[in-house]
């Protein structure tokens, strides 16, 4: 029977809970010192804009976690190991998978590395395991909340409303040439913007996600709760993306980004912030009823045009740098 708690692991401090968790682990382990905008931008996460056709809250977390997360962290030189399993009903070997994941988590904690998992508490977001206790059969966790949530029972690992057993251990880190990192993130961002198909027909990405959101605003299937949540998540993403593009325009010696592009990024960021303020996310159990939908649709249309300009400009900037 053993136990260990990593004291001082911070809570998940970003709306994008995966990157918030990564940030907390990087800070605790001193693996890499990276600002929020550089983390969100250079991994490519800040470029992600996925919406469901009814604007429900699933948009920001619907993508291939294992391959996307691995590649995003690889982009900034972090090697990580991921276990991902969807708990199908009637699955025979889930218990074995749970035991194997438990061992992996404990090993990482014993090596002073907090572990990223899906839904460590009742909040359906990524979070962190910061300790364990064999006697009580619990993992100590951190999530997006200020206070430390209730611990996670060993028996409940991988069991939640969205039953993914997701265990992600950040193993080690190497330096990556800055220009390579910049270029790779932009290439990814442009690809995401132009993506025609995302996971299933009810989800859209990038440019198409704008249209899907605009359509949803005038449809009966519109989900108020989800819209407010998504806008809160993406308002922060767009803000960090704008900061990242600004930084890139200053730091990169090879990629020349016009000032108008940076300006437009700021406008998009302001636009999403404005929408998010007008449609506030009130927490998991309250719903803000979205009004002035026509106005919001019109506003999103303008923002999409600006983002289209930004992406074309970035594409040109990468092309000229070749």
């Amino acid at each position: 029977m053993s136990s260990k708690v990593l004291e001082g692991v911070k809570r998940v401090g970003l709306w994008n809970s995966f990157m918030g968790s990564v940030k907390a682990v990087l800070e605790y382990t001193n693996m890499k010192n990276i600002e929020d905008c550089m983390l969100m931008g250079s991994t490519g996460m800040a470029f992600r804009f996925v919406m469901k056709n009814n604007c429900d809250a699933s948009g920001p977390t619907v993508y291939d976690w294992a391959s996307e997360h691995f590649t995003m962290l690889d982009r900034i030189g972090i090697f990580s190991e991921i276990t991902l399993l969807f708990r199908e009903q009637g699955m025979n070997t889930f218990k074995l998978a749970q035991v194997s994941a438990m061992e992996k988590i404990k090993k990482a904690i014993d090596n002073d590395i907090p572990v990223i998992i899906w839904a460590p508490s009742s909040v359906m977001e990524f979070g962190i395991i910061s300790g364990y206790d064999d006697e009580q059969r619990v993992f100590f966790v951190r999530d997006v909340g200020e206070d430390e949530p209730d611990p996670l029972l060993y028996d409940n690992l991988g069991i939640s409303m969205i039953p993914y057993l997701y265990v992600h251990v950040l193993e080690s880190c190497i330096d990556v040439a800055q220009e390579k990192m910049f270029r790779s993130s932009l290439v990814y961002g442009i690809k995401e913007w132009n993506k025609k198909f995302h996971v299933s027909s009810s989800y859209t990405c990038g440019n198409a996600a704008y249209q899907s959101t605009i359509d949803a605003l005038s449809s009966e299937r519109f989900n108020d709760f989800g819209f407010c949540y998504c806008m809160a998540v993406y308002a922060q993403s767009k803000e960090l993306l704008a900061e990242y593009i600004k930084e890139l325009s200053i730091r990169s010696k090879e990629i020349k980004i016009p000032s108008k592009t940076v300006e437009y990024c700021m406008d998009i960021s302001d636009g999403f912030r404005e929408i998010s303020m007008r449609t506030p996310f009130l927490g998991p159990k309250k719903v803000h009823k979205v009004d002035c939908k026509k106005e919001l649709a019109l506003y999103l249309k303008q923002l999409r045009e600006k983002e289209e300009y930004v992406m074309k400009s970035l594409e040109k900037a990468i092309g000229s740098a070749n």
Binding site: S122, D133, F225
Partner: protein
Amino acid sequence: MGNFHRIQWIDGAIKEKRYPCIKTISEQFEISDRQAYRDIEYMKYSLGAPIEYSAKEKGYLYTDSTFTLPSFFISEEEKAALKFLSVQYSKIKEESSQNLARLFSRLSGQDDEIISQISIPFYQFSVGNAKNFSTVQSAISQDKKLDMSYVNYQGIFQQRTVSPYKIFKNGDRYYFVGYCHLKQDLRVFRLDRAGSMAVREEKRYKCPYYDPEKYVDDMTYFEYIRPYKCTIEFCEEMDEQNIKFKVTSRNGKRYVIEFFSSHDLLGWLFTVSSKFKIIEPVWLKEKLKQKIKKIYSMNEGEPL
């Protein structure tokens, strides 16, 4: 069958030139004037009867004496489905949907006002589910238990008796929460997994730890997970009906209680008149100490 009987009577009265009016219909059947008027509307708009009010005769007559009542009958099952459809269509703001909602409402014999008070979001629904929906709703409104056949998520068929509390929706599915007398615990049931259902002539059991606020449309986070267990010792014996959580066992004044959130449990413990001590788990004891510490600090002048 009630309204069909009335309609036959009105039809007969008109044909015999007794010129029934709202007052005579409502008095004859001891119904409200509003319901009598609805019957006339039903005949006029749903059955296509050429019915008009005659100021001269002070009652209703047919403008076409060749009219005969169509020989159809809406069963209770069909009425339940129509009632459900009327609620569903009433949620769509388009005029055509609103017209359909009114039509289904009239065909089902449901009061429009009642329909508008029922809060159900729109989505596809089978007639079988509509019947179950109606049965669960009836059991809840009559404060009665339900007997039903149910297939659980593992595909196992069981006969269950349930004290139903609330119907709610999550995503594209309807559920209801109730106390399952087979499992002796609160359970959430998927409406489409229920087979035959019938209201049982027995008063519902009132589960002390049922919290309606946990079961809200599209906001319900099912407790798929296993609950925490704690052992709490009280200074005096507790009435289990007053314990807002599931008690799995007790030994004198020591109770083993299941819970899903320390926030809820500790919040309740503070409202209990008896003094208490958390025996286990350690983490819960720590949470309690932290909470008390926080309250103490705030009362010692620290900012809220």
